[in-house]
Symmetry: C2
Subunit: 760 residues, 2 copies
Amino acid sequence: MTQQAPHRYLGKARKLVDGVEKVTGRARYAGDVSLPGMLHGKLALSLFAHARITRIDTAAALKIPGVVAVLTADDLPTRNRQPSSRQTTTLAREVVRYRGEPVALVLATSLAAAEDGVAALQIDYEPLPAPVTAEAALDPAAPVIWPQGAPKADTDLTAAHAAVARGEEQSDHVASNIHEQKRFSRGDALAALATAEVVVAGTYRTAIVHQGYLEPHAVVADIEPIRKHITLYTSTQGQFGVRDEVARLLGLRTSQVTVVPMTVGGGFGAKYGILDPLAAAAALAVGRPVRIVLDRSEDFLTTTPSPASTITIKLGATREGVLTAIVAEMVIDNGVYPFTLGGIMSTLLGGYYRCPNVQIDVVEVLTHKPQAGAYRAPGAPQVTFALESSIDELARRLELDPLELRLRNAATTGDPMGNNDPWPSMGLRQVLEAAANHPLWRERTPGSGVGLAIGGWPCGMSPAAAVCRVDTDGIVRVHVGSVDISGVNSSFVLVAAEILGVPPEQVEIVAGDTRSGPFAGPSGGSQITYSVAGAVAAAAQEARRQLLEVAADMLEARIDDLDLRDGAIHVRGLPGRTLPIGEVARRAQEQQGGPGPIVGEGRTAPAENAPGFVAHIVQVTVDNETGRVQPLRYVAIQDVGFPLNPLMVEGQIHGGAVQGIGWGLHEALRYDENGELLTASLMDYTLPRAADVPSIETVLVTNPAPNGPFGARGVGEPPITAGAAALANAIRDATGARIYELPMRDEVVWRAMQKGVNKQ
Amino acid sequence: MTQQAPHRYLGKARKLVDGVEKVTGRARYAGDVSLPGMLHGKLALSLFAHARITRIDTAAALKIPGVVAVLTADDLPTRNRQPSSRQTTTLAREVVRYRGEPVALVLATSLAAAEDGVAALQIDYEPLPAPVTAEAALDPAAPVIWPQGAPKADTDLTAAHAAVARGEEQSDHVASNIHEQKRFSRGDALAALATAEVVVAGTYRTAIVHQGYLEPHAVVADIEPIRKHITLYTSTQGQFGVRDEVARLLGLRTSQVTVVPMTVGGGFGAKYGILDPLAAAAALAVGRPVRIVLDRSEDFLTTTPSPASTITIKLGATREGVLTAIVAEMVIDNGVYPFTLGGIMSTLLGGYYRCPNVQIDVVEVLTHKPQAGAYRAPGAPQVTFALESSIDELARRLELDPLELRLRNAATTGDPMGNNDPWPSMGLRQVLEAAANHPLWRERTPGSGVGLAIGGWPCGMSPAAAVCRVDTDGIVRVHVGSVDISGVNSSFVLVAAEILGVPPEQVEIVAGDTRSGPFAGPSGGSQITYSVAGAVAAAAQEARRQLLEVAADMLEARIDDLDLRDGAIHVRGLPGRTLPIGEVARRAQEQQGGPGPIVGEGRTAPAENAPGFVAHIVQVTVDNETGRVQPLRYVAIQDVGFPLNPLMVEGQIHGGAVQGIGWGLHEALRYDENGELLTASLMDYTLPRAADVPSIETVLVTNPAPNGPFGARGVGEPPITAGAAALANAIRDATGARIYELPMRDEVVWRAMQKGVNKQ
């Protein structure tokens, strides 16, 4: 369904530009960085979900050969500063508040010595009561986790990821484990629900899900002790934000911190700088480079998984299938620090469908668990699971085709989102129409185990800059400040190639650090292609203008008569009159009194975001004996605006769909009643494996974004949103059982099947 | 004499921006780079000036623990390619042509093992006859060094360093040790000489002088074997040229070579890539990183010192002191590969003075010694020594004040250079006038040992680009592709500070490699400030424009009413209405629908060069018993156009003057009749020490360059040109003896004193 565009390179599938480095092991990850004099850091983690630290005896550890230092909170330059609530780890001071919280950092000349050092530490704790679930934390009798008030979030993920406005604050906080309570509403939803001809209701629970990247968190901090300049080689999605937070926590000027983003082995929202302040602080404390690389268990214990949620939802509709009311209450379990997904979750829950009466109450709760963090389309899988399961039930109640019900109510451009702002240009209807035409949907029969769900994401945007140079060998180098976690560079090359008329092999992307820039926002919220490709295009246009100016002089032709293609500049209508762009660049570089070397800058700041919508259709079989669900076919339909590089877009959709299957059927971090993580390895935390995943068919809908480069929309987040709901609806179709909790593992499905049709 | 300019920061002395790194040992030099798996390379050097290599037995070397490989010419990817004649070393094949030529490269896991490996190599030679002096090589019976023709120089240093045209080729070559013979002429010099009222004549000899940098040549080559991508961390004056030559020699695309210029511990013309192709070829051959760092003796033996010259000069003049004829013959000893200084030497010799009749014959000779190379103002000390000694003699013959004689004949803007092109704007007369007013000259008495000489350099120019970013903390980052060997970055900060109205501490220079650019020419020929500062200024102007655009919106003011100073933007006349530029940059970076992040590019390509002239006055005492010369006072007067950062300019002048004293009194590489270097250490090769050098007084003449940034001219080369001549003239004044050879060591001076006044 890809539109055929009049492009030479854009819109045509090309492989990853850094594929060779990655498959041959040559790509340099943060953990590969080794510096002279570097120390290896190993963390001592809290054994309790809540306890007072009564003693840290480092004597035995310091006797171990190779151990250079044992640092505790008081040894760090961060000791007088509060970490930002979000995704930042230093060392616990006096009190630990979750199992796995770092308490001490052993630095040694080898990793083995550091590990021995951690084992030799004597840390005494005095355990304290610890509500570890949202239910327990909400008990009025529960101890309050932060009696003096929780550390304040200084960033709002809603804004960062989705470019939408925030909701309405419900009340001033009193000391409680609720750190935020908000209501999003329009119309009179309770009245509309009371008078609705049909009502469906349910309470949906989602688990804590980890981002499951291949590469655990890793960072190497270098230190120049005289100017106190820190250089961080790190696995991050956004170097500029890491720099600012590290500088703030360490009390340095931002220019004293340089963050070098290394190849990232998966981020998915978790890599905005968890370990960086700690590594930097340690390097500053000891005056030597420090490397910290988490192992898998440490990563599960100390990082920032997606929050668990409980969503009670009631839908009211007419008998004709017109939605009249959405009433919902969401409880979000954010772990030990505030995190604020309520806004975006409400924006989606109240925004997928055109409905005049909406009331959504959000309760964000603190518990003695690791802080919740962003995970690809943060909050969307949870809310989509609840809403799209409910819509499916509503269709069944109304005996309407679930797709037809959706089409009748689907929001379109200008309709209100949950926060009542209007949707910018969006393509939910186009996606539903594509789904209606797909054989897997069109040819399904009742009970054949086919489920459908929609999902969407507003997609973010950031101003960005790029610089484009043309070298004497014809190589075009494009400088960007964005991190490539999803193949964006493999699209940028096509943008520059298209504009400059050079084969894509002649384009190199040069990624900057915080010193060499240029600026781009973090790689999250599906914003990079949308934001940065425009800057790349502008920079390439300026380089093109400069090339043509010089070439016109060399070829004795008017600029208007020149054409750029195949890496050369041609005079139209005169086949012999042609010059490779490298020769033109050389002239520009050598000509005294000329215009100077070819270098163009480009800047963009989109004024409007470009939501991406999906419809996922999945067919499953369910084993009657065990409840085991096996997906058979999976169709992911997505409005991508325009696929700059379809191979990258499809890769994003494949990955998102697989993660959606993980959310739906497999993944959960489980804690016992003491806050002990029961699933701290990949043996226990089960990611979907190849055999668990069917081949995924992608259908690209190309409904151009008015402000997107060549019409492109963000594509990263949308494909994870709908999978769990589509699976739930497929299971419902196959078995008659409605599943109200994620993941839908064998025993969950089996129990639901025992209960019978549509019972909660 | 510095003009008071209406500048806030420009023209005022500020310390080196990287001084702290340098004095604390934190600056990273090429030899500091250490890579995983890196091998240490040690060269086996030829023991003969000319010999056939009959056997290289590597067996014993390979048995030494740690030795990984022994490479000879046939093992290298350069084996089928001719090195460019200039300043490139690979390994000798079949024949060695100078003592010290690299024959084999031992690679080992430690330097010690590599050294043991070299010692264990068995290399057999069959010695061949070897003319090692120009005189011997010019003997018609001498064996011809390159019977099939010498490798062709592919670059003309004259053009690269001085932006002047070449002379007229004298004849087609036949197989001979003369690789180039040229005549530069105007008028009828022989006739004019024959009829001149006064004639002085002399033959002046200069020694082979080494650049004497503190840091020997050093390079680390990294290799990515799949794409065959080479990264060189190197001590270089120009990364782009090194890249192109390495790519050419290795048969790679230039985009397969990235050159990262490291901090340079002195270049002075020698660091354009001697070892880089060899290190790259070795890394490619073994698939591992390779480090080669020369020790002092190896550096003396294998690198590219300034050529020796013999200059016979005859001046004709009227009794009133008007020059009527210059006739000269120059023999230049270029060592084993062609080098072409004749053009620039003739340009200067026929250009300092306005003279209607000039004939200069240049004979460039090959000998069995290391190839000659560029050394700061290449050829100028030699030719200035000959010419300015002759002018001094002419003044004595005419009983004219030597300065007055010079003023009567000094060239000025538009007069012909030795190549008959007109001088661009130049300030020789202003410099002479400043000298006339200086007390050391004005108050001298006959025999007081005061000498004066002028000197000059056309100065180079290259197109250049720069990029300027403004960060959210107000830090201004300027990206350049030039190498800072002379403090240029410490001037660039002032250019950006001035234009953007920020304190210089808020400006950082970010130096690019060949991938991150932007392009600049090599740091040689006094061109960097002249060329790149203009690009820096243009980039800063564009960033300023962007800042004002955003600030006008934020401050609700007209752009014309805004003022940038002290790192903030102010509304003129409204004292409270002010914004730090970092806040403006943040708005630009965050504002959706705004203009985008602040980033400006700037490009320049000066159309005309800007010669720099000096007059040096020195007072000496000469020990009658030993001939030892002790400089007492030294005044260096220079037309710098405008000193962007006077401290850097004065540093350049101090360094140049000291090197001029080295040329005049101390330095010479001496070879025996077999081509064996007798001065291969700093014990034997005597650089001037602190006690040998008087305090140097600088006088800056500010005769603005029409095309220079803020009027600046190149300042690097001119201060080395005049010192040897000024010293010779001072010795003549003190002793009555004219010295015809450099260096003027004790025995040379003593012998001349024995001969009596003005005898050759």
